[in-house]
């Protein structure tokens, strides 16, 4: 029906003078955009199938390709933007919920970019991290409230299980199923080499990855996929997923088409069955219920592993975190509204949740005010794009950060946001064997190691500039931050002064 026609959002611009018709673009496009026309003796493209993943652009040996945003336009309207009109057409045609992938792309405030970092001058010397020791090692878990001694006066070790991180960065939860085996292997190997942790997500742990257990966080989500005794004991910590930044308040749905072979075995569900994670845990309707699950998991792991509770950043996040800090959990992980996903309803992703910067500041303050900050460590994720964001997060009160989108970018992701279609040309968000093999973990894990090492160098440089020589001294050190272009309420919530103050 012509009324349904939506002009392609992106167009393939092929420079015919440079194209040698090698057909690499055709072979590499799982969306079948490119084709060699035998009669015309040239490459042709069907723009309507293009998702702008940049695979063809990246692999074209003669730089003959680029992808441009179309200049076809509906009549300009500030209220009815083109994308909104197209969505109405799509829903009028399909009657369905709109699906999206990866994080919220809308032009909403990015507080990281409105916060600036301090540096020392004259009176308090800065430190050169290349000449002097600089500590990025950090521990996650409960801090003891008092020093205990035995009858001879010796200190009793009353420390609960901790996670030791060489640098305050971890790879956040991405399930096997939503991402490929090779993507998981890259994350696991990188975490092991870096001395940090990656997170299985809710899809269980593939038997091939138990050997990386010392650097693995195993997740228990509402669907309880792949959870069994060995799984819980395989990791260094157990994470209970209550919510996800990209889709707070709703569950997950991995279509049956992706539940094949190893994914089915790892999740412990039949092949071809849809993997549906309910919105709530059906055994958790209160903090007391959460406490029970936390303690059950500790019992199951013989009190040797810290338990993380992951929540999405929502309006009353501080009160929720306060409850979690009293539930016996060792670590709270908060996922901001920019957090990614393999598939989420567009309206939820784009309209539910709050920025992580505000959530973090208010949670840290609330726990301090209530004197329970030492009960838990705080890990934040869902928007961390660079080492500067990491430094700002730690100064706002985080103990460490979770990164996932940046990690996927390191593996080749170009944020085309089409994960839910299962045809990832970069071999990440797909289970198609011919596409999965495009991600060689030998290359992937080194790129992840490079990324985190580079960020760690930059974190040290920024800390040195502030005259700080350890992550511990940066934690919650909001005097090192100033806001620009923020109103008084925003500054109050962030707990920082305005630049110039």
């Amino acid at each position: 029906m012509p009324i349904d026609f939506i002009y392609p959002e992106y167009e393939i611009a092929r420079n015919k003078d440079r194209c040698i018709a090698c057909r690499v673009c055709e072979r590499q496009c799982a969306n079948e955009v490119h084709k060699y026309d035998q009669e015309l003796k040239m490459m042709v493209a069907d723009d309507i199938k293009c998702v702008d993943c940049q695979r063809c652009v990246s692999l074209c040996p003669t730089r003959a390709l680029k992808i441009v945003k179309t200049d076809n336009t509906y009549k300009q309207n500030a209220h009815w933007k083109g994308s909104i009109i197209s969505e109405v057409y799509r829903q009028a045609g399909s009657g369905g919920v709109l699906l999206s992938s990866m994080g919220n792309p809308l032009d909403l405030p990015i507080y990281w970019d409105k916060i600036l970092i301090n540096a020392s001058q004259v009176t308090n010397p800065s430190i050169d991290p290349l000449r002097e020791p600089m500590e990025t090692k950090t521990y996650l878990g409960q801090r003891p409230n008092k020093i205990e001694r035995d009858k001879d006066g010796n200190i009793v070790n009353n420390l609960t299980p901790q996670l030791e991180l060489s640098t305050p960065i971890m790879f956040s939860a991405m399930s096997y199923g939503s991402i490929s085996y090779n993507a998981h292997e890259s994350l696991a190997r990188a975490a092991t080499e870096l001395g940090i942790y990656y997170n299985t997500g809710e899809g269980g742990l593939h038997e091939g990855f138990y050997k990386y257990g010392a650097n693995t966080i195993v997740q228990v989500a509402s669907g309880r996929f792949g959870v069994h005794k060995d799984y819980l004991n395989a990791g260094a910590a157990v994470e209970i997923k209550m919510g996800q930044g990209a889709k707070p308040g709703i569950g997950g749905h991995l279509p049956g088409a992706k539940i094949v072979g190893d994914v089915s075995r790892t999740r412990m569900i039949p092949e071809g069955s849809d993997a549906i994670s309910p919105a709530p845990h059906h055994d958790i309707y209160s903090i007391e219920d959460l406490h029970q699950l936390v303690m059950s998991l500790k019992e199951a792991t013989n009190y040797t592993k810290p338990v993380i509770v992951k929540i999405a950043a929502v309006h009353n996040v501080a009160a929720i975190a306060s409850g979690i800090a009293r539930s016996g959990a060792d670590i709270i992980s908060i996922d901001g509204f920019r957090g990614g996903t393999g598939a989420a309803p567009t309206r939820i992703r784009d309209n539910v949740g709050i920025p992580i910067e505000l959530a973090l500041a208010s949670v840290d303050k609330r726990l301090r005010d209530e004197g329970i900050r030492n009960n838990v460590s705080i890990v934040v994720g869902g928007s961390v794009r660079s080492s500067a964001d990491v430094v700002k997060a730690i100064a706002l009160g985080a103990d460490a950060v979770y990164i996932a989108t940046s990690a996927l970018l390191a593996l080749g992701c170009h944020l085309c946001r089409s994960c839910h279609e299962g045809r990832c040309n970069w071999g990440i968000a797909t289970q198609r064997p011919d596409l999965v093999k495009r991600l060689n973990p030998e290359i992937g894990y080194k790129r992840l190691v490079n990324l985190v090492s580079a960020w760690t160098h930059e974190i040290k440089e920024m800390m040195g500039g502030m005259g700080i020589n350890s992550i511990e001294a940066l934690k919650g050190n909001r005097l090192m931050l100033r806001g620009v272009g923020l109103n008084e309420k925003e500054l109050e919530i962030l707990g920082i002064l305005h630049a110039g103050e």
């Binding site: 090698c22 690499v24 072979r27 040996p61 003959a64 093999k437 060689n440």
Partner: protein, 160 residues
């Protein structure tokens, strides 16, 4: 671990092209990089593949074999006991420093080497005389073009 006898006359171990079916994408970039490396244009304009390969049908020395989901690159393995060298009636094929080279002046186009090569790694060139991979390592990276251009490390140049 390479045995000592594999070292060349400079006492270095021999590097070889290793192909790995597991990581081959079947993108055929190696073929185009090979054709470019061995084109007349690549010497004059080393960065301009367009000038070298525009509007020609390439005849590369490395070829992708593919059927169904399986694909991998095939090029000369520079065998320890090369049948092609043994069988060449004109003495055009020789093994120098572990690399099997072909002297195009001597080749009489009898195609015997094409018949005996178990890998199908020798083929006629566009000029008629035979051609094969002679390890184009004389570029800045010291890596053959097919290796340098492979996006997924499915072709590696390493010591064995």
């Amino acid at each position: 671990m390479a045995s000592f006898t594999q070292g060349n006359r400079f006492g270095e171990y021999m590097k070889r092209i290793i192909v790995n079916e597991k990581w081959c994408l079947g993108c055929h970039l190696c073929e185009y990089n090979c054709a470019f490396a061995n084109s007349a244009g690549s010497k004059k304009t080393p960065n301009d593949m367009v000038k070298a390969l525009k509007d020609i049908v390439i005849n590369p020395r490395i070829k992708i074999e593919e059927k169904g989901d399986i694909c991998f690159a095939v090029s000369c393995r520079h065998c320890k006991e090369p049948l092609c060298v043994k069988s060449c009636i004109a003495g055009a094929l020789t093994k120098v420093d572990e690399i099997i080279r072909i002297d195009k002046e001597k080749c009489v186009e009898c195609h015997t080497c094409v018949l005996v090569c178990p890998y199908g790694a020798i083929m006629p060139s566009n000029e008629g005389v035979m051609q094969k991979c002679e390890l184009c390592v004389q570029n800045a990276d010291g890596q053959p073009f097919c290796v340098k251009g492979c996006p997924n490390k499915a072709i590696e140049y390493k010591e064995i």
